[in-house]
Amino acid sequence: MDSYAIKTEGLTKVYKDFWHRKSTSALTNLNLTIGRGEVFGLLGPNGSGKTTTIKLLLGLLFPTSGKSWVLGAPSGDLTVKRKIGFLPEESYLYKFLTAEEILDFYAKLFDIEKKERKRRIDALIRAVRLDHVRKRPLNQYSKGMLRRIGLAQALINDPELVILDEPTSGLDPIGSREMKDLILEFKRQKKTVVLCSHLLADVQDVCDRIAIFNKGVLQVTGTVKDLLSQNDAIEFVVKNLSQDDIQAVKAFVESRKGNIVSIDHPSSTLEDLFVSIIEHR
């Protein structure tokens, strides 16, 4: 078995206009390897090539040049798609169906037998907390609920590789937190997760490695820790220190030619605050 979940070599996509003239270079010479069991983040501004990369990996688009492999097989291979779960950037779902019906439809596309289908559908609907609206057509769902059912459909086949395009888009902070917890759960289950987002905090919280794209070109790749750490600076977080002690530490640092950048009280994130308020009431 290959050690990588995804590999690309010189992957390039140029969109052409009606007359087949080159119009936009969406992705240029992407060389990327994502290991099995990794949580990998694709970052970049809008139009940077993240979604194009995902579509190329799923076989929805064909590369202009270069090659890509997913779970050891060329992109778009049908047998490999049995092991992939995909959540698109928006919930493109059949709005006339109920949650149960749409999950049943997608489960049938994997030839999952009836009894197992029912078991998985029940489990997923409960997991995404839509049990109370399972019989309601999707056109009556809020954006966040649609996102949750979209996630459920991506997991219906218990995938080895989960591709999530903007997974927290449309979710409230609680939903975002649950999504991130779920991604960490995938990590514990040794599933590979490709997370595509422009919400940097989300990616920072859960990803092992990230790649940053700009204008279709991979700018940088590496572990979050390596990319974010400032090796020429040190941060202490200390509790129960008096003003005198602080002044003493400050004097000591200055005596050693150290340059103090800031002395401040650490703050929690707004998301942590929101979640703690909502969960305690």
Binding site: K55, G59, L60, L61, I84, F96, K108, L109, N157
Partner: protein, 426 residues
């Protein structure tokens, strides 16, 4: 997998308002038919029920099916719901096949439900038809005369009709040389005549007519005097003992009275072999219509693999329309091809070849020829012409139409697979 897509497609279609409106309109039209005035002919109402179903209702349903099948795939692509399917282990051709089966199921449901409604209405209306008009609710094989002659004196001839006077001065004789031994399931032969009659006496619309049916080989026969009506066909049952093997039948007729006259042509008398019941024939007619639905569904779905929704709808309707007028298109192109075919044809007027003619050739004639070659012939699925005459639809017709649809479907599926294989989903 294909089944899942087919059922999903069917379920989605059944929820579309377009379909609800067209089905509602169809039912409304069938429901108001009894209130529509007809001619005085006893079978006019039955004919109207058949015509309205097989032309108006079927056209409405086909319109609905085209609107849905031509837009299904483009809408999936436009709404991006196709991502959900393509990211699963489903090949692109399976999506197309699933869609086609879904719309085929929809067509079958429409035809069965509306067809049953129509059949009940038809049987109810036909139950009180007089015997001479009940041909429309039978399933018969038609035999036309292989030879026709008037023995004796032709009193006068007018507009292609030979008139004979009564009293044996002239006898009309129709010969049917290819009558086959009736199969076991058939219930026998009957003669149907649509003769013209006149009289020089005080005439109440009927004359006594001597009709003889005779087996030329065995010599067995039967002579009857019937009362021929001026505006009604006559029906004469043939004794099964007369036709027991392949044979030649002779039918002769003349007015009994010298004051009466009979106008005859070769096509006035026909022999019919009464096959299985009307229900089986009606079923075959619905099956032929169903094949028409299947063909247009396949064409519409194929078009939608490449075209946008509105263009796909227009393309499907153009194919459907052209498929009904292929004879006309063929005639038109032939007229342009042969300079001497018609004195008013444009190439006939312009005697010498010039640039205009060459352009006409490439811009009009050649495309028309290609249309005749490529477009499906929808007229071959026309079952109404059989039902209106109470003619049994031969199994060969159904079989050939089925084969035609299968071959066309195969080609369309291949093209769809080729188109979709190359298609990208942005």
């Amino acid at each position: 997998m294909i089944r899942a897509i087919a059922i999903h497609t069917l379920r989605e279609s059944l929820r579309k308002k377009t379909l609800h409106v067209l089905i509602g309109l169809s039912i409304f039209i069938m429901a108001v038919l009894p209130a529509v005035p007809t001619t005085d002919e006893p079978d006019a109402r039955v004919k109207m029920i058949l015509v309205v179903f097989f032309q108006v209702v079927v056209l409405l349903c086909i319109t609905g099916v085209i609107l849905l099948s031509a837009t299904s795939l483009p809408h999936e692509i436009e709404d991006k719901t196709i991502y959900g399917i393509l990211s699963k282990p489903v090949s692109r051709i399976r999506i197309v096949v699933g869609k086609i089966i879904g719309f085929t199921l929809l067509s079958a449901i429409l035809l069965v439900v509306l067809g049953l409604f129509n059949l009940v209405s038809l049987q109810y209306r036909a139950s009180d038809l007089p015997e001479e008009y009940r041909g429309i609710v039978k399933a018969r094989s038609e035999f036309v005369a292989s030879h026709f002659s008037i023995q004796g004196t032709v009193h006068h001839a007018r507009q292609g009709i030979g008139w004979i006077a009564g009293g044996r001065s002239g006898v009309a004789r129709w010969q049917f040389s290819h009558i086959k031994k009736p199969p076991e399931h058939a219930s026998g032969f009957e003669v149907e005549g649509n003769l013209k009659i006149e009289s020089s006496r005080g005439f109440a619309g009927t004359i006594p007519l001597m009709v003889r049916v005779e087996n030329e080989i065995s010599g067995r026969g039967k002579t009857e005097v019937i009362s021929a009506n001026v505006d009604k066909p006559f029906i004469l049952k043939i004794d099964p003992a007369i036709v027991q093997e392949n044979t030649t039948l002779n039918i002769t007729a003349f007015p009994v009275l010298a004051t009466d006259y009979l106008g005859v042509t070769p096509m006035d008398v026909k022999v019919f072999l009464i096959q299985k019941g009307f229900l089986s024939n009606y079923g075959k007619a619905v099956l032929l219509t169903f094949l028409k639905f299947v063909l247009i569904v396949i064409i519409a779905v194929m078009g939608s693999t490449y075209l946008s929704a509105p263009v796909s709808i227009v393309a499907a309707f153009v194919v459907f329309l052209c498929g009904h007028i292929l004879d006309f298109i063929k005639d038109f192109s032939l007229l342009m091809q042969d300079h001497h075919a018609h004195e008013h044809a444009i190439p006939g007027v312009l005697k010498t070849p010039n640039m205009f003619l060459i352009y006409m050739d490439y811009l009009i004639k050649k495309p028309l020829e290609w249309i005749c070659f490529i477009f499906p012939d929808f007229k071959r699925f026309d079952s109404l012409k059989f039902l209106l005459k109470g003619i049994n639809i031969p199994f060969e017709t159904v079989g050939v139409s089925f084969g035609y649809t299968a071959v066309y479907a195969g080609v369309c599926l291949f093209l769809s697979a080729m188109i979709l294989k190359k298609r990208e989903f942005f």
